[in-house]
Symmetry: C2
Subunit: 300 residues, 2 copies
């Protein structure tokens, strides 16, 4: 790159379920950001979208591009086994083959666990970000998202984790089930907190409670706002019941997109936990930055 | 109809979630049957499909057409409150307005319950059919289907019932979730029974177990057949845990379409219940016949 002014030292990319976000980075600082919608992309589709998105930032020589996020599962890279030390979490990057010579794409690897069988991809980036900001973190990180994850982190290691399909289930039910007609766009916090508590006291009745939302809408005139809050509360309540060993009596940090961050925070608070809310974008950027720096340190 | 030979005395129709079935009836005997695919119809769409389907059986004068099934919810008829006596279940028909003068359409009304809030439409026909065949039935009828229902029937009354979204949830997850790629078309009975038992012992862990199907497929090479059986077993097991007060120590009759009839029978048997399998088509025809006869008795 000698003799040429480069826009970015490197580029940070988060490949999420519905959008791709990218930041032009100078060191640890994001000097510009951009994003694009990206549903149901395969790996080739991702590379095409990525090249178009990053084009204004690319020079003639290869720019380092570090990719994290849910979509990295599509790279079919080997995930490492938990427990795994915290620092290498942000390293061990795999170089991905891309057809455009202006990109040198590296992908944050996933993490897997044999018993109970579990796997995560994108969430390793957010965990690495939390640990980069607070290397001595000791407690539980609740990573909200389409698939939420509870990760026990201690002495610089991810000790164990468990994944839940809660929000994916919620969005499927709201969009494509017998409940769809009853679910509004608004929110009713009281109905949410009551539904969480109800679900935690008898979590096995989930499928019956879900149907009762439709029945209450038909018979009792349950509002669309209350119906959305109840649906969310029943599903998150069932998750909290199953994840109780993770959060009960622990330091809990919740990281995730809205409106789910607020929902998890509120549900945990109502159960007497004292969760701390983390900044999702900051944790992604910190995780990608830590990976970039580790990579540079290790480079010959 | 004097002077004209009529093909059918009346026509029985079952409006299901994915197909409409019709039978040309002489008394209680079905002399011909026909069916057509019918997804996502509204009431007008239903009438159009119905007229085309029944055309060969219609004369110039109006023919009585009795309609039951899930789709009758679209008629927006008032449902009656449970508990409700068994015999009127197959009467109190509502005359539906149709634009074709060759049809006199009557619809079996639904049933609703205020606490817990619940509602059923098509399943009233199957209950009426069971009671027409066995008027002294005393026990629980498990109506399998997209929404399953457990109805307590005693002394000729539907005393109470509870609905579950189990199979709708199952089909959504198999078709449109992160699990879709892991779910095959076959079956593994051992995996199913183990999953039912696992779900019943800790029903609150449902959302985690669902994700573990994907993780086991990725890490342990879980087969598609076993994945389908596990998914079905986790969901039906959670339902059995919640519906335990309905089936434990009771006479249980299961009525429903395959493959779900076999799944509910197998799950209940594995839990030590001694369920009896009913014939679904026979119960629908018996329910519609009982409704037709009651209507004729009451006619001036």
């Amino acid at each position: 790159m000698s003799g040429e002014t480069r826009y970015a030292d490197w580029i940070a990319v988060d490949w999420g379920a519905s959008r791709i976000r990218a930041w032009a980075m100078r060191g640890r600082e994001a000097v510009a950001g951009t994003e694009t919608a990206a549903m149901d992309l395969d790996r080739e589709g991702f590379e095409e979208v990525l090249v178009n998105l990053l084009d204004p930032w690319l020079g003639k020589e290869p720019t380092d591009v570090l990719v994290g996020g849910l979509g990295t599962a599509r790279f079919d890279l080997a995930a490492r086994d938990a427990p795994v030390p915290a620092k290498p979490l942000a390293a061990g990057l795999a170089l991905a083959t891309t057809s455009d010579p202006r990109l040198a794409v590296r992908v944050i690897p996933g993490l897997q666990q044999s018993s109970p069988a579990d796997v995560m991809h994108g969430d390793t980036t957010r965990i690495a970000g939390v640990l980069a900001a607070e290397p001595d973190f000791d407690g539980v990180i609740c990573l909200a998202g389409a698939h939420s994850r509870w990760a026990r982190v201690s002495a610089g290691e991810v000790v164990s984790f468990r994944s839940f399909m809660t929000v994916e289930l919620l969005e499927l039910l709201a969009a494509s089930s017998a409940l769809s007609g009853s679910i509004g766009d608004g929110w009713d916090e009281g109905a949410f907190v009551a539904a969480v508590s109800d679900a935690m006291s008898r979590p096995e009745a989930l499928a019956a409670r879900l149907f009762s939302i439709r029945a209450e809408a038909l018979i009792d005139g349950l509002s669309g706002d209350a119906a959305r809050a109840q649906l969310t509360g029943y599903l998150i309540g069932a998750e909290l019941a199953a994840a109780r060993p993770y959060w009960l009596g622990q330091k809990v940090l919740v990281v995730g997109p809205q409106p789910y961050l607020d929902a998890y925070m509120s549900a945990l608070s109502a159960q007497g936990a004292a969760p701390i809310a983390g900044d999702e974008t900051a944790s992604i950027l910190a995780g990608l930055s830590a990976a970039y720096e580790t990579e540079k340190e290790l480079a010959p």
